[in-house]
Symmetry: C2
């Protein structure tokens, strides 16, 4: 059942499943997209700000997206982010971390330029196995309105 | 030569190299991190908002990071983003697009809590081969100050 714009309400919460990240995945993402020593190998990470191997923030963001796509939150038309107002990584993701995402709807508004569509602003907080946030993202999603019946 | 906090000035610009994205890379990223029809295959994309295969925004973000890491902009301690204030995708990245990134320094300020370090706020605009922006990111980077000599 897709969720139409009218199905979203401020304060609504959605919860994703869980996903475990290992060192291989952290290093593979880094080799492709963010080849800096603290994301690539333990030795390079030890003397860095992170004090040990840390996932790229963009890896954390990509894993967050995967958890959202696999979740029960299925906006009509797909999960289409248009503009984030905030994206931060309060602490790094480490090898062995198990992540899940909590989504809270902050705002629902019809689009002025796209009739029959609108925006859902939500805060998605990515959380590790110790209950600590590793990413906070405030994103505006483009969502279809319910088709006239 | 690493760039210390003192080497950054408001208005300074940095330019990256170029990177071409093909359909295989778009689909591979989507399969791993954003498995929605419009990122996975041409058929699923045709009837979507995008009207054709489009890269995940998180893929565009990851490619932007790769271009930055490979560029001459080498902050001391690495490119460490702590908090983005804006992240938007004005148009999708398509198979065959060739991307580069223009960075402009918006603000330089010492950290109150981390002596000898500071923040460089910059806008990085990712641009396709037609000169059109595909991503705008305003990010705060944590940068080391120059060590006392």
């Amino acid at each position: 059942m897709p969720l139409y714009l009218e199905d979203f309400t401020v304060g609504q919460k959605h919860l994703t499943g869980r996903l475990r990240v290992d060192a291989e995945a952290i290093k593979a993402f880094a080799a492709q997209f963010d080849p800096q020593p603290f994301h690539l190998h333990e030795e390079g990470a030890r003397e860095s700000l992170f004090g040990g191997l840390a996932a790229s923030g963009w890896h954390t963001a990509a894993l967050t997206m995967r958890l959202l796509v696999d979740s029960d939150m299925k906006p009509a038309g797909g999960i289409i982010g248009t503009r984030a107002e905030e994206l931060k990584w309060p602490r790094p993701v480490r090898a062995g971390d198990e992540l899940h995402v909590e989504v809270e709807v902050l705002e629902v508004r019809p689009s002025r330029s796209r009739p029959g569509e609108g925006y859902v602003k939500c805060r998605s907080t990515t959380i590790n196995q110790d209950g600590q946030p590793v990413q906070v993202l405030v994103m505006n999603l483009l969502v279809q309105g319910r088709p006239p019946s």
